[in-house]
């Protein structure tokens, strides 16, 4: 591969990320309100829930965690749940359904990857903002900055896996014309099995294989454990490897599903 080609491959991806960031910030108030409500409303619900459980049942440990540990988990998990929440797979199904995928298909870059980098541009801004908040919190709570950086890397990897999985499912839209419900179900499963709604340690031990056999725990639960110092850098490295494995598996699956199903595309609405 010559240097010109490598330069081009870098350049268009960076341009797409920049474009996505600008798109995300086109309406700054909408961006900020969306960011904060998405982050704090679920946290508020969880805090009320934990408070009720501990005060009404009189228990001191829930899911292997004390009340203060649960609070720390909940506050820390916000940072990573915001990073994982890319919904650009929904953009893909909308493009297939309305026929607006056509323009992307004709450009000399892959449409799935193009949508990813634009969406990533939006998320990278969120990730940077979350990292800033996390660093601020680490300073005051005397937590490891390195752990937070490692955790954010895992969360970003989770974001990539999340998109690859969603984009693979989005290929169903070529056959059904709309795959909104499938992606909605996927997101509900992710919310439950990623550790976004509650720590995965709450799951009974005999059912832990359920979340362990999906990549979703790498989105929020894993990064939160790293940030809180419960996973060592060695454990982090191990889960990063698992994450890369999922990435490769989904990338292969994505290529197969899209190359087969694209023949069904009709580019309607023209």
């Amino acid at each position: 591969m010559n240097m010109i080609r490598i330069k081009w491959m870098m350049e268009w991806r960076l341009a797409a990320v920049r474009n996505g960031m600008k798109d995300a910030l086109a309406y700054r108030w909408d961006f900020l309100i969306d960011f904060f409500t998405q982050a704090f409303v679920p946290v508020g619900i969880q805090l009320i829930l934990w408070h009720s459980i501990f005060t009404q049942s009189g228990t001191t440990v829930f899911g292997g965690m004390k009340y203060t540990e649960l609070l720390a988990y909940t506050w820390t998990s916000i940072l990573f749940s915001q990073v994982r929440g890319g919904n650009y797979d929904f953009a893909l199904i909308e493009m297939i359904r309305t026929g607006s995928l056509s323009q992307s298909l004709l450009r000399p870059v892959g449409p799935v990857e193009f949508v990813f980098w634009r969406g990533f541009g939006e998320k990278i801004f969120t990730a940077a903002f979350c990292l800033f908040l996390g660093l601020l919190a680490s300073y005051f709570a005397d937590r490891s900055v390195l752990n937070l950086l490692l955790a954010m890397m895992l969360a970003v990897l989770g974001n990539v896996i999340h998109y690859l999985f969603g984009a693979t499912l989005a290929a169903v839209a070529f056959y059904w014309e709309n795959a909104f419900a499938i992606l909605l179900v996927k997101n509900m499963m992710v919310s439950l099995l990623s550790g976004e709604v509650m720590p995965l340690s709450v799951f009974p031990a005999k059912y832990s294989w359920i979340w362990e056999s999906t990549p979703f725990y790498l989105y929020v639960y894993g990064p939160t454990q790293v940030a809180l110092g419960k996973w060592s850098p060695e454990v982090w490295a191990h889960h990063m490897m698992i994450g890369f494995g999922w990435c490769i598996a989904f990338a292969i699956l994505l290529k197969i599903t899209w190359s087969r199903s694209i023949r069904q595309y009709q580019g309607i609405g023209g």
Binding site: I4, W8, E11, W12, L14, A15, A16, R18, N19, K22, D23, A26, Y27, G99, S100, S102, Q103, L105, L106, R107, P108, V109, R263, Y265, Q266, G267, G269, G270
Partner: protein
């Protein structure tokens, strides 16, 4: 493709679509859920043609005739059911990288630029996507925006532009990388007279200057008659005319515009001109003026009859508009 001068070659191209038949009412809705019925529609029924490099070709036909389907196949969006299409030496649906770098599709009803961003941001992304060197890109943006009078709007969000301004930006975005083949699907739809005129002038100049092969579909016959020397006319998935736009107008009939001195009726004229198979109507602008459509071969005979039997103030031979000719072909 054997001839390097040929940009597009289409051989016995067919395309069918399968769709679900939806009956009205609750029964239809339930049937759709439990036992959907499929219908097959043949959008293209074996089309053949060749387009040389640098040609500006008009692709016309009624709604649902198969024009857009043909453009989608040629641009590589959908595969044909059977037959072959070769564009710039590539099979379009393979969507090879080199092929995609050399073509462009503008759909009047679909935006390719990003709604919430200014056109300049979109152009910059397209520059990176198509590997246009920065100095060349800057020069090209300046030139194209000047030609279309949109330089001042480069930093305005796309969604804030008028339809005409947006369409101009769409066209600039589509030709920024100087594609060798451009597919234009109703680029002047919804544009006012001035904007459409400006866009037509621009497209004509671009075709002449850059030598790009352009296929244009439009329901606006001004677009076709002013830009395209050659016409492909599609009716119900079949190519029914492929040739010069001028010859399409000459091959059938012409129209005489006759102003009478004395009062005359359509019936009377019809009776007099039975032998020349004339079709007669009154000119909307004047009660004493008639529009007489006759076979081109019978002009002399018609004049003879008219001057023998009527007192005529003025007579002119009119070429029927392209729109009228196509309307006639469709009615046949």
């Amino acid at each position: 493709m054997k001839n390097p001068q040929t940009s597009i070659e289409v051989t016995n191209l067919k395309r069918s679509f399968k769709s679900v038949k939806k009956e009205s009412g609750w029964r239809g809705t339930l049937k759709l859920l439990t036992n959907p019925e499929y219908i097959t529609h043949d959008a293209l029924k074996g089309i053949n043609f060749k387009i040389e490099t640098g040609e500006f070709v008009g692709l016309i036909g009624a709604n649902g005739a198969g024009k857009t389907t043909l453009l989608k196949i040629l641009s590589g969006l959908i595969p044909p059911t059977s037959g072959e299409a070769v564009v710039l030496g590539y099979e379009p649906f393979d969507r090879k990288l080199e092929f995609r770098k050399q073509i462009s599709l503008v759909m009047g009803q679909k935006a390719q630029l990003w709604w919430d961003l200014p056109a300049l941001e979109a152009f910059d992304l397209l520059r990176a996507v198509y590997q246009i060197p920065r100095d060349v890109y800057q020069k090209r943006v300046d030139e194209l925006t000047n030609l279309l009078d949109v330089t001042k709007l480069l930093n305005t969000q796309i969604r804030r532009l008028s339809l005409g301004e947006r369409m101009k930006m769409e066209v600039i975005g589509a030709i920024l990388h100087l594609p060798k083949v451009i597919f234009l699907d109703e680029p002047t739809i919804g544009l006012d007279v001035l904007a459409a005129h400006k866009l037509r002038g621009f497209l004509k100049e671009h075709n002449q200057k850059e030598g790009a092969t352009i296929i244009l579909t439009s329901h606006n016959m001004d677009d076709i008659s002013q830009l395209c020397k050659r016409i492909l006319l599609i009716k119900e998935g079949e190519l029914i005319y492929d040739g010069d736009a001028d010859k399409l107008g000459q091959r059938n009939e012409c129209q005489l515009k006759v102003q009478m001195i004395n009062e005359t009726s359509i019936d009377d004229l019809q009776q007099s001109l039975t032998s020349v198979e004339a079709r007669i109507s009154k000119d909307e602008a004047s009660d004493s003026t008639f529009l007489i459509t006759i076979p081109r071969a019978k002009i002399a005979e018609s004049f003879q009859i008219l001057f023998q039997r009527y007192s005529i103030a003025d007579v002119a031979i009119q070429e029927p508009s392209l729109e009228r000719i196509i309307q006639q072909i469709y009615q046949q």
